[in-house]
Amino acid sequence: MQLPEPRRTILHIDLNSFFATAEQQANPFLRGKSMGVGMRDYAGSAILAASYPAKWQGIGLSTRYNVAKSIDPDFELASMDPVKYYDLHNRFIAILQQFSPQIEIYSIDEAFLDITNLTKSRRDAWEISFEAKHQITRQMGAAITCSIGIAPNKLLAKIASDHDKPDGITEIKWEERFEYLDPLPIQDVWGIGRNISYKMNKAGIHTIRQIRELSDDALYAIIKGYYSRLRLLVDGYNFEPVTSNRERKPAQSMQHAHTLHNATSSKAELHSLAKKMSERLAIRLRRHSQRSSKGFISFAYANMGKYDWNFAHWFGSNFALGELTDSGEKIYRACAPIIDETELKQKIRRITVGLFDLSIPDQLILEKPSKESSLKSAIDEINDRFGSFKIRTADILHQYAKETELSSAKHNMRFHACLP
């Protein structure tokens, strides 16, 4: 069956090396240099964003600072400043909203824009792209650049914006899509996960063209049920509309991760961190009137290589909360036995606590608030007004003391997650 040709005009706007260029905007001495963003006073810090001169030398996301220094002795590290990035993100979104109300915030530095109606009426997609670039430079700063992809769907728009980085504009017309898709390594295509890439690579298939040339039976033999979806994807089809974040379904999962400045083997320290992260999750649940009954806690050892953040050295366990809850105490109580029972072979660098299967209970509005939930609402309100964790339980007070030791007062400011 022949599928219809997509006829929308979608832009994918991607801020290039966003955290790094934000720091270059703030400090002109960093511009044009090999630099990155991370934890400045820690040699083993993973780099969270690298400038293009650093990327060209092979320094990228999750390279350790000491490794980056060995590659390029002139490499400089700027301290991560979430407040700066959050404010610039808001400016970025406000600029894009001037062009179309159909905007999907994909991450802190990426967004999709559906400009179909605009291009129908009067304006060319290229003209809009140039104007968006101009406004980003004018309102956010000359050091901050973006790449824009123009295409008839989100998948091709994302591939287009990746094509000419930094600071480019690329249009992929429907009839030209295979020129761009075919040479791509499988793992570089949006929508193809690590498992699929692994299975395909194991079968000797490395590019999109190789997948396209496979018969349905051969594809099914490798990846079973996912094959029909993959077939559409490698043919350039994507039917997802640009969905504004207001129209989006509430989040189905959430997590908090904490990277320790000094790796630890202290169970007491891990308990304290798990408690704090459980409280953070509970605050987010209450903010969105959500509850959860399942979650997980995971750990990562300190001696990780460049890419191991995403693969090995992770371990942990899922837990059940027994009932739908938005209580930080209950989340922590489910984590505690896992921490106690976990045998630590090395020091822990990173701890993650997450919740999934989130739901908004139907009867929530009919429930009479308990004394405990009224207290939590009051604490949330006070913390929203005077700064997060101004009121906290005594058992995580020392975490607060450590934070203030490590960071300036600005890091104690309220910093909400970037996506609503």
Partner: protein
Amino acid sequence: MKRYEKVHEPVNVVVVYKAGKTRIEGFKWQNELYRISRNNLLTKAQKGSVPIYLFSVSNDKGAYQLRFETDTLDWFLEEIIWED
């Protein structure tokens, strides 16, 4: 060689408000006047419910971050990155 210094000390600041824009001309810290040649980035943030503004500025000696508190109208020098 760069030197990084976290400061967070009150400072006196010379500011020009013109055509809806705020431009920092200089500040005085530890009895020394620092003239500013570039205003690079203005960031708005929240301290609880109080808006604060962070100005990233620079001259040929280094880059500085200044903080303006809207509830007290106080200015602070937050950090310096010296370019030696």
